[in-house]
């Protein structure tokens, strides 16, 4: 019955996450570029090793420039032929709109559109990545092996709190799993320089696991229509 109280605009915004692709893609990016940065730290030229975080930031920039195109490409093949296409209203479009109190008119959600994934999920993770940069490393190295558990806990809390009222909230137990995963590194000692990518790798694994589960469930429950009629009027 909850579904019936959700406006069509909000449902359209939620629809962006129906296939798990945004999370899967962003999670994989975190793992790939976090992993590349660690490899760089291990095998890179001696002087340049300290700039391992730059590899990660280059990945973020690359991802940011390609994200929408890659997602559109994948959604065109997996999602739109199965359950259709919808473009939620852009945030800018509704900013200047006069408030209306007519219940029949389901006011489209302000902020609840595809861009909120950037603000509520991607941005906090990128912020944690900033702690990785060399200027911060000296300060953070004082807390030693507590860095990864604390940063992961903070990240889990931020992701849960920021997304709590969004079109794509994370369940509390899911955020708890992420927070607990960080605690492992209280017992597993990781050398100093490698501690900083850990929260990002954990977040990447957490996001891509959720995205993969959603994608598999979506593909199983929404088989392709037998003919092309499903996508034609």
């Amino acid at each position: 019955m909850t579904q019936q109280t959700i406006s069509y605009g909000r449902r359209a915004a939620t629809y962006w996450f129906v296939d798990g692709l945004p999370e899967l893609l962003f999670g994989l990016m975190l793992i790939v570029f976090g992993g590349l940065a660690i490899l760089w730290r291990v095998d890179g030229p001696e002087y340049w090793r300290r700039f391992d975080f730059a590899i990660f930031f280059a990945g973020i920039i690359l991802y940011g420039s390609l994200e929408r195109r890659v997602l559109d490409f994948l959604k065109l093949r997996f999602t739109y032929p199965r359950t259709g296409y919808v473009q939620p209203p852009e945030e800018e479009e509704w900013r200047g709109e006069t408030m209306t109190t007519l219940p029949l008119r389901h006011r489209p959600p302000v902020r609840e559109n595809v861009t909120s994934f950037h603000l509520r999920t991607e941005l906090p993770i990128v912020f944690v990545a900033f702690l990785w940069s060399s200027d911060w490393q000296s300060g953070w190295s004082e807390i030693g092996r507590w860095y990864a558990p604390l940063a992961t806990l903070a990240l889990a809390m931020a992701l849960y709190a920021l997304n709590r009222k969004s079109e794509h909230p994370y369940r509390w137990w899911s955020a708890l799993i992420l927070a607990l995963a960080g605690l492992v590194f209280l017992w597993v000692d990781v050398p100093g320089p490698f501690r900083h990518p850990l929260p990002l790798l954990l977040a990447g694994a957490w996001l891509s696991a959720q995205g993969a589960y959603t994608l598999v469930h979506y593909l199983r429950t929404n088989p392709l229509p037998r003919t092309a009629e499903g996508v034609r009027a």
């Binding site: 069509y8 739109y80 032929p81 259709g84 296409y85 919808v86 007519l102 489209p108 499903g230």
Partner: protein, 105 residues
């Protein structure tokens, strides 16, 4: 004839039909949606949706554009300016009727 009855008589009958009202509600909340999405959201059959969309298009409330995104054919539907105005007017009139009857909060 009471004022309320007059108001009801003046409701836009193109929109007032439940299936078309559903289509208008969905399209009012989004920038654009394709045929399959509308079909699934509204629980329509293909023929049913097609018929109602044609009526809304004939009334100038909805514009339908067939195009390809990559190799996938999409039948995109969106409200026209006239459609948005008509739906806002319909909502206002309906609310007036319901409020007059003490049925709307």
């Amino acid at each position: 004839m009471t004022d309320q009855a007059q108001e009801i008589a003046q409701l836009d009958r193109v929109i007032h039909e439940p299936a078309r009202l559903t289509i208008m509600l969905i399209l009012d909340g989004v920038s654009e949606a394709d045929f399959l999405y509308l079909q699934r959201e509204g629980g329509f059959t293909q023929g049913n949706l097609s018929g109602h969309l044609t009526k809304l298009e004939d009334a100038g409330y909805v514009e339908i554009e067939k195009k390809f995104k990559g190799k996938v054919p999409l039948t995109l539907c969106r409200l026209t300016g006239e459609g948005k105005a008509a739906f806002a007017g319909y909502s206002q009139r309906m609310m007036g009727v319901l409020k007059g009857n003490g049925s709307a909060g």
